[in-house]
């Protein structure tokens, strides 16, 4: 799959956050979007996901992609978890194509066993972030889109998460925003200003 972002412009309340921005996102490639706060990283991801419409320019799915929307495994800027439910339920609830046993196995790759059956509201910020990462990676998807996925993680967890994401990326593209590009040398770094 190829996503073509062409000459995109987006502003909020008269403040321009993206201007004439272009990027081609292709399968098997990783894109590490970095830049200062407010430079439009999150806006770009929201445009790709179809959650926002550009003021000018286009975001198109090219090639023989058969669906009208992007089937994306997504990590949002916030965790966006259902607080009352445990990690396993938070991951299984989003898709009928994932099962409890598989999800438990996936969660155990990033989280200690005692954490995965507690309501997520009882988990630490870092643990919740890891649940959000597993949720994005465990469901079948054509692209991984991650907005600051390593927020709140210590260096060791961050490294484990990078390895996990790389392993789960498969043949689809990965688009990831971050302030800190350490350990992300495998991807094409796009500096936004």
């Amino acid at each position: 799959m190829t996503i073509e972002v062409k000459d995109v412009k987006k502003s909020y309340d008269g403040k321009v956050v993206l201007e004439d921005f272009s990027l081609n996102i292709e399968s098997e490639h990783s894109y590490i979007i970095t830049g200062p706060s407010g430079c439009g990283k999150t806006t770009l991801l929201r445009l790709i996901l179809g959650l926002e419409k550009p003021d000018a320019g286009t975001v198109k799915l090219l090639g023989d992609y058969k669906y009208p929307f992007i089937n994306s495994g997504t990590v949002f800027q916030e965790d966006r978890l259902c607080e009352e439910y445990d990690a396993v339920t938070n991951v299984t609830m989003v898709s009928r194509k994932v099962f409890k046993e598989t999800v438990t196995e996936e969660l155990l790759k990033l989280l200690p066993e005692e954490a995965i059956h507690k309501p997520v509201k009882e988990l630490s910020g870092g643990q919740r972030r890891r649940v959000a990462i597993v949720r994005a990676c465990a469901i079948p998807s054509d692209i991984l889109i991650m907005d600051e996925p390593f927020t709140g993680l210590d260096d060791e967890s961050r490294e484990k998460c990078i390895e996990y994401i790389r392993h789960k990326q498969g043949s689809g593209p990965l688009v990831l925003t971050t302030h800190d590009t350490r350990g992300l040398g495998f991807g094409r770094v796009i500096q936004m200003v």
């Binding site: 996901l49 929307f69 997504t74 949002f76 339920t89 989003v94």
Partner: protein, 245 residues
Amino acid sequence: MDLLKKVLKKGIPVLLWLAIWQMVALIIHNKILLAGPIETVRALISLSGTADFWESVAESTWRILLGFFVGAVLGTGAAYLAYTKEFIRDFLQPFVVTLKSVPVASFVILLLIWFGSRNISVIICAMVVFPILYLSTLEGLLSTDVKLLEMAGVFRMPRTRVIRYIFLPQLRPFFQSAFKLAIGMSFKSGIAAEVIGQPLHTMGNGLYLAKVYLETGELFAWTIVIVLISFICEKILALIAGETK
């Protein structure tokens, strides 16, 4: 020990009020103006020995609960539709405001002309419960976390799961208070409708006959039975709401 304290804390004021009631009844010394608690219990024992009493209790309770159920289902369903489509919300607004503000008695008289007295309490209860459930459910739905809904949209989460995992936890406190209010209102309005419509073998009819024959003891006895049934239904609903957590 704690339980005993709790019982005493709640029981002593009740006993004091019963004593005051009995004293006032003794002072007035007129069973038509005010029947005392002893007189009321006597009337209750006498009533409960008749088959007509139990038939009235069963008939009224069944009809009121049916009305409650119909109103709750329609109110919740309409709220969901109103949440998904703004024009439905605008369309229903005058209807809900009318149901909320028009006195029950006006509806009862109108419905008596249209449908007769048999099912009056079912329809009135449904009409009273509908706006309560509609407004509470709509408020709950509108206050649902939009970020979670956006997440559900991005992951193409199945609709049934969105309802189960995102909407229902959000709606639970709204449902709990709405059901509590609605069940109490159902019994109040349902019995009022029966008193006006006088369908045979109902608690409302029993109240009406007690008034006609100036049987104040019976009037109080029926009132106690209605309050008791309403209280039991409220507790059962609270239990169900608690168990589905």
